[in-house]
Subunit: 365 residues, 4 copies
């Protein structure tokens, strides 16, 4: 008699195949789930392998569009960067994959979900927090000790080439690509490469195209030491070509169209969002709240950014927007508009009041 | 009879020459002051011109070392970036120049200080706030209206070449330079270019060398729209080659040696510092306080960062430190040390408590 | 011929009467505007006086309901307290009064608005920022210098009794009043005094009743030194009896129904909101944004709070809510629910990771 | 043969006596430790009981002075209030007690420390985090499961009277006490009750006296629902009479002597400090850093505050300080000093720039 049903996040690799076999031996029915979020994978081979190892059902699902729209786009709106450098590529994949896995578990009446992300990594946390939040009754923890044991029989080989999406900038093209990205509500709605006569306008196509262009020019490689949620430092090597282009373009159009002080408050919320997502709290009430606030801030973040991509760098060339708060007349010296230069003197003197009091007092102490 | 003495920040250019003449005509004694903070300037010619236009005294002072040590180094410690992009190059020059100008004014018994930074710019604010703070009795405002009038007779010609310190990355060398920067207390104490057999260890030399290398590789160019203190947006085109290299290197060694939560708090203070410096409040009590706190956070920020500079980019290659909090044993899978994988499960479940409660409740509303 | 029309915020007192006369003498048509926001004032007498002094039109408008609903309620939602102590009573009145004044000015085709809040006070700033925001073309500044002169001919007499709304707690009743306040979306929708058999359920009645009860028990008096926007410290003596009761009750029901981490983020936004409102930025884009975010956080802030009011104090007695996130079963020792005590040990050990690393390393330096 | 030595935080009560016996039965040598931090306890009786139950050594130590100086004073400097209401009384006791317990464990060569603070409480976390930080090799976790079992045989009786330190305000004296508290570096150095002719000037005496006066007037009772670190809400009933008086007095003298913007930054650090202390992170690197910054902010927080205590309330009557930044001349209308009223108009207009642009643009969308 079955001990119950487990939905296993299955990659087709050795580790999760091993888990599959072990779970069956323990008396569980195993449903495997493999999400396509754009990774380079032989999905057919994985399907066959899962079936041959005795999976009761095999789900392989294309989540690419919802990954871009529901997870990457909010990250772009937030200018999300963890610890000033990491663009959260893998961190946003987990809640996307976990959400579907939990849906399958509920639908199939599975009481257990399982995954191969063991050890000290952030991925375990992100996966499990997602499952507990969206399926509070689920059990995910029962396997850890054993999994540790199992996985210890495999040696993890370092990949032959660490970077898979991006060319080495030294080998990248000697001429830039020039793109125009159009934003509405803080998310890209169109990307155009005039010279190549190409243009994309669905979320998945836009993001894939930016990954392609960015990757070709070696954009978005970083080698950092980061602080994991569990308080350890660890080295991370990441490449996010499309994300890097979007971050720079979004920062540009956002500052162009958003009020200064709204920007300051929103910047703080973006840092908070990055920490929450990094730590695995996508489905927490606080992340929900922060996402709502950030989305609200994007109401008028709209317009076009021109940029060039070259040798690992993204250069902003210009921007235009119907919602711009940039007021050329106001900035120009000759046309005064609301601005009276005498006001600046008063403004400065009032701003100096407390420093003057302070320095005067200090001199007497 | 003289109406009093004015210390004028004099550049040798048309605008400030015009002010000099006008001040003399109004009956003031004029002392000119020209600071050398590393800009490309013919100081001798400026001296002669000031004298020929009737300056009572002419001060030309080399502030380069104190500029690097007292102003740029704290900015490096802070990872100071205004609005996520601007590295504050000119913003930190003003309090340096203003400090000396005020010293001269006090010493020479001048009641007035003057400058050519009129109009809507941040420079006027930064200069005047500095003067009011350090010399509360000084008068700086009396000339604005007239200056506006005067300056209106000059047309401002756009410079032939906008970028002066940095090569166009398309024209920069096809091979990277590899540097090692050593930090102590969060400031660079040595830079080494192994291949070229060069090494620098005084603040001014270090910074100049990084400007040279970064400039040669086209590092640190940005074209942004920023929010000025006075609430307008304006376009800024900046190049900070040395600053960009230092920012990346400092971020790296800092994350390597600083506790995670200290880093989070310090990150917030760094953003605050950037805003204060951008807005001209270097000498305010709050900036003083923030600088103190940031400096304290740098106690253990010490070690060496290896990096390469190429085609406008800075790539971190590695780092080492006697004060590292990176614990290889702890991160490794095999040696457990303090870390028990079972703890992670408990950690995750406790972290999931509130999201579970929330999602359960939501389902019933 | 008239120089134009001025809408003057008129109180019926000497200062603004003097301004009225002076404006007429200068050749302006003057429309007076007096807002009833609940203050103790003889509105009829003010009307007659304005007419007798030559006002072209006299507007006296009852803004009490919109004051409570549009301005005080958002302040309650925010738990707004400036510098940890001041409940912003007068600060929220200004944008309410100014909004209507500007409406009248637009409707009557007046190019000018005027007020008697001169000098170094925050009220001038709050009033003028409101006018500029809602009527960007308006002129408000032209009178300042003269007003200073005018007002210098009046001596300001200190009021006989500083406190007008609240009894001295030493003279207040020797038995408490017990109230129940019901909240929905973070604002009070009903207040009940069981013992007195009274209950109020319109915003204006609720707030007036709380002012009455609080005032009778001497609640909400403070004597503080605060930091004005313009950088000076000044002494303020305030009484906000109803506001104090609402702050305590709202804090209670909010913590009862709001997720912990949402609360933390919202606390920061509430502090920001307080500063913005204190400084006069009610109609700024950032205050608009912050109000939106705070309102969103109040979605589930719903329930009833029981409290007693006695001798200047408000004591919370209990609370109940259909949206409570307080989980008695989870807190109880006997029923475990999701909570396994072993998890706490893992949670603690993981939380100790970085402090252990740090203390170990420190011991070696 | 002994399994090792345990230092047990022993209260003399049933729970910890039970643990003592159980530990001995399991084969451990037990050293008991009882800290006197001012609680009402029969220390002699506890000593005898521990000895009679077989404790190998019994330590009873008076930590009252170091509790006040090392733990309460920094909390006063921080204006520490958790979730806007809880003054952290018990939260600061744990790191004080734990520090000594760990010292004893190290000195006595004990590998284990133990305590009776089991279950879902914050105290377990605070105690264990302290032990792990200060004695990284220590073992504290091994007993939890068993302890749960043991403690389940005792019924916890609710105390007859919940409040032990404070009178019911309804029964408190009908006349106020008036005190003057003198601060230096943000901590009290003297308290005077003129009327009673009493004055205290050692930390322990000052704090004890304020507890006595405050308790007699029913000051500092709260009944709240708070968010525990582990994500549950729980009800807490607290009384902190002396702490409440000090909070109000310190807020007053701090705002009087501290620059406005320093205060804002420090307020944020104080909130951070409160969260860290509540959660048990007193000995973390980040709490160390925050304490350092807060202490720095107190350099000039010096002066005397007069206040009255009556019926549960603390009223500030006045303050004076040689380091005051309150500038009577500046605030007064007649003497202008640095302040020119025309400056205010310019200040306001510049502050209105962005709101005007925003409202104008909005009107066109």
């Amino acid at each position: 008699m079955s001990k119950g049903t487990v939905v296993l996040a299955y990659s087709g690799g050795l580790d999760t195949s091993c888990i599959l076999v072990w779970l069956k031996e323990q008396g569980y029915d195993v449903i495997t789930f493999l999400a396509n979020i754009g990774q380079d994978e032989d999905f057919k081979a994985a399907q066959k392998k899962a079936e041959s190892l005795g999976a009761k059902k095999v789900f392989i699902e294309d989540l690419r569009s919802e990954f871009v729209e529901d997870f990457i786009w909010p990250t772009v709106q937030a200018n999300a960067v963890y610890e000033d450098r990491y663009l959260l590529g893998t961190a946003v994949a987990r809640p996307c994959i976990g959400r579907r896995q939990v849906e399958i578990a509920r639908r199939e009446g599975a009481q257990f979900v399982s995954h191969g992300a063991t050890g000290k990594g952030n991925d375990q946390i992100r996966f499990e927090l997602t499952c507990y939040a969206l399926y509070p009754e689920v059990k995910v923890s029962f396997m850890d000790a054993n999994l540790m044991h199992i996985s210890s029989c495999f040696n993890s080989h370092a990949p032959a080439d660490l970077y898979q999406m991006t060319k080495n900038p030294e080998d990248s093209p000697n001429a830039p690509d020039v793109l125009e990205i159009e934003f509405r509500n803080g998310v890209p709605v169109k990307v155009t490469n005039e010279k190549e006569g190409k243009s994309k306008d669905s979320p998945l196509e836009i993001f894939s195209y930016l990954n392609e262009i960015g990757g070709n020019h070696g954009v978005g490689r970083i080698d950092i030491v980061e602080n994991r949620f569990i308080g350890m430092k660890s080295r991370g090597i990441y490449e996010t070509p499309g994300g890097t282009i979007l971050l720079k373009a979004h920062l540009d159009i956002e500052t162009f169209t958003m009020d200064k002080e709204v920007r300051r408050i929103k910047q703080g919320l973006g840092i908070k969002f990055s920490e929450l997502v990094y730590n695995g709290f996508w489905y927490s009430p606080e992340c929900d709240f922060v996402r709502h606030c950030i989305a609200k801030s994007q109401d008028n973040v709209e317009g076009k950014v021109q940029l060039s991509v070259f040798k690992g760098q993204v250069y902003i060339l210009g921007r235009e927007s119907p919602k711009s708060l940039y007021n050329e007349e106001l900035v120009s010296m000759d046309v005064q508009g609301d601005y009276d230069p005498c006001d600046a003197s008063g403004f400065i003197r009032i701003n100096a009041v407390s420093a003057r009091v302070w320095h005067r007092r200090k001199a007497t102490w």
